[in-house]
Symmetry: C2
Subunit: 450 residues, 2 copies
């Protein structure tokens, strides 16, 4: 008996068959739509060098990177130092997201991948976050990115794919909340927030959905000392609460003296609005206070949301600076990431999965060892005709086989004894109602086709 815990590590999960089928069905929909839209698959190693990973996710993010301990001589040398320096203990870490690895791979294979590269990537990432309901330390991200396009047509391409995925998964109440870093920045400027306080202001705004309007206003005034900022922002809070249209937004901004950057940003949002109208896509909602946490965004930002759910199902934005920091030059890029775990939790809660079992519909069991070869050949023959057949991998009594089949939710059981081998006539027991059906192997091919 083990003297240690057989549970998976904190915040990590074992996936049993039924759950895997659900995960795979969602991943299959996401991959299919991305591929139909011309995105190519990419996969990167679990580990990255720490100098690739660190300094991209902010201080808090860096702290959450899992580091891989040195081995052998390198470790010994590090431990000889006095005091031992943490930085000497590791040079590799586990992937924290899929965007930084994309930037690295693009920098390495730029020649091969070309100036315009559309890729998707569905892999786990690791963050040493405090585990909580729905928050794990190992979880999947489903990223889609376009490298090389400065135009918001790239954003529209991604929005259309995301909407198609959500529809195919069966969601009806989703919308893409969209804002623009340039517009946010220009708004803060117009409202007198000093440039150096802008990031702090955005971090506070980003909490709107979690802590509510009053708390955000209070925090803005307390931390930025801008007593009239709340008042100035009030029309935007109202717009969000009343789900104002893009026209409402535009009307409001006509009263604000925006910088050139702000005007361009508004024009980009308008383009997205116009295209979605022309395409009859009603899923875009322009949310003037959406801020998103990550530092590296430079243009439109967006989150996928459901009605009456505070957590987003995914999000993304334009990051025209990140890839250049890996390979020089300014390389525009735009991306979106689905949070697979939240999608699954919501689909489960809403009963959106068929209660399809993972088990084989048919099990064949030999009652004596001498009939095993015949049982195996029957199984092989049925499989050749597309029936999933489980061989009971032992020789036992009928009652034990039936008990096992019942528990394993196998629908049909075929027992092989001397009589069956001699006559070639097989008896199928339907475990759902106990009905027996006798037929030749040939006859069973058509029986199971139904």
């Amino acid at each position: 008996m083990a003297s240690f815990s057989v549970k998976p590590p904190s915040g990590m999960r074992d996936f049993l068959p039924e759950e895997i089928l659900r995960r795979r069905s969602v991943i299959a929909v996401i991959s299919k739509i991305y591929e139909e839209h011309g995105f190519l698959p990419l996969e990167t190693p679990t580990m990255e060098r720490l100098d690739v990973l660190l300094g991209k996710y902010g201080e808090e993010g860096d702290r959450l990177v899992f580091k891989v301990l040195h081995r052998g001589a390198k470790l010994e040398k590090a431990l000889e130092q006095q005091p031992v320096k943490t930085g000497d203990l590791a040079e590799l870490g586990l992937r924290y997201d899929l965007t930084v690895p994309l930037a690295r791979v693009y920098a390495l294979h730029r020649e091969k991948l070309g100036t315009m590269f559309k890729r998707y990537q569905i892999q786990p990432v690791w963050r040493a976050d405090r585990p909580a309901r729905g928050r794990f330390r190992e979880f999947f991200q489903c990223d889609v990115d376009i490298i090389g396009s400065r135009e918001v047509l790239a954003e529209m391409d991604i929005f259309m794919a995301v909407c198609e995925i959500m529809e195919l998964l069966g969601f009806e109440d989703f919308s893409l909340h969209i804002n623009h870093r340039g517009l946010l920045s220009a708004t803060m400027e117009a409202f007198g927030v000093p440039k150096e306080k802008e990031t702090e202001a955005l971090v506070i705004l980003d909490k709107l959905d979690k802590i509510g309007r009053d708390a955000v206003m209070a925090e803005l005034e307390a931390k930025l000392g801008a007593t009239d900022l709340g008042e100035k922002l009030a029309p935007l809070f109202n717009l969000v609460e009343e789900k104002g249209t893009f026209e409402d937004l535009k009307k409001y901004y006509a009263t604000v003296s925006l910088s050139a950057q702000g005007v361009t940003a508004l024009e980009e949002l308008e383009k997205l609005h116009r295209w979605s109208s022309e395409l009859g896509n009603t899923r875009l909602f322009f949310h003037p206070l959406l801020a998103r946490g990550l530092d590296y965004y430079t243009g439109p930002i967006y989150e996928l949301r459901l009605e009456n759910e505070s957590a987003s199902l995914g999000g993304g934005g334009r990051y025209d600076g990140l890839i250049g920091s890996f390979c020089g030059g300014e390389i525009p890029a735009v991306g979106f990431s689905f949070g697979l775990e939240r999608l699954l939790v919501l689909m489960e809660e809403r009963g959106m999965f068929d209660s399809q079992g993972s088990e084989s519909p048919v099990c064949i069991a030999a009652l004596e060892e001498e009939h095993a070869a015949f049982a195996l050949s029957c199984a092989a023959s049925l499989r050749k005709n597309g029936v999933r057949v489980d061989i009971f991998p032992g020789v036992t009594s009928p009652s034990k086989v039936f008990k096992w089949a019942d528990r394993s939710k196998v629908r049909f059981v075929i027992l092989i004894g001397g009589e069956e081998v001699e006559s070639g006539r097989l008896t199928v027991k339907d475990m759902s109602n106990g009905a027996l059906h006798q037929d030749s192997l040939q006859g069973l091919h058509s029986f199971f086709k139904k």
Copy 2:
């Protein structure tokens, strides 16, 4: 520009689109056949507790486990010690194989999984081995295991699935080399090898394919001091070299005075031989000197081999003790593991992959921003009819689009300008021969169906 290397860490790989398609096609075949045989999918976390991992793979294996460095207070506390102990720096490691995680999961979910559990698992594992040609630090294993059956019918079930996979992948020269730990053990005993030297003898025998018969004999004599062991083993070496039949093997063993354990083992091999004969399966070869490295095997052991290739493509065996060490009792188990990387290398070398591209066959590009919505709607319409369509995510000149399409191996290009929007007639350029085809969107649906 990055001041750090943008290469993946040593021994690890980025997978670009074309390679992923190949990997996925092989994984799809393996999963399909396993599922048709009633094996259910299982996935486990990347990390395991070190007390779960260590002590299962031998001393050399333990050294190759990647460990995850503690963070925060735990790390600080460990570094305060004098001297710092390696054991205090980490409590988690990366999965070294898929068998130990299976044992842990089974111990945890035994009630739910039942007494007979057939599972498959296809996931990466990590070993801090010295990287070499075809040897990586992150690589995929494709494991299939049956828990709960003492009978070699379980082995036969697995053999049949493995052979079907190899056939479906297109291999013609494969065979399963089979031996039995009990028979090996009884042979050593009959030849006078002391019990405590048996493992050492097996380790030497295991090198047969790598260092050859003479070197093995020399090492056996030098290390075991058994000067006549080589002579006694000679008939077995001959059997292997001449690819003797099972009858030859049986005839030989009739001359050896085997223990009861040895007799039972030989009977089990005979069963496998008889069943495979009855099923017309000619892929089983009984290899009386096959030893396999891992400690935990207790019954039949086997390796998948190709003619004229010294490396095996996979292997496995029965391990009736391992799972019990996690949850008590003796729980029989048998498994097989494909080495995905070797399979891929060999299939590549032998030209077994179609040179199918990963790209979309059709690209639609808008020449002016005002035509973007029309271009997007054409793309959406074609996709609804099952055509993979890439939107060129920018607005540019025809020549740039054609250049990009050429490089990206896109077959058909549709440019959208004012004329197309007005008339609704689209022109398709076939990049393979320059041919132009003009049609309505409706007409293109049937054009692309061909």
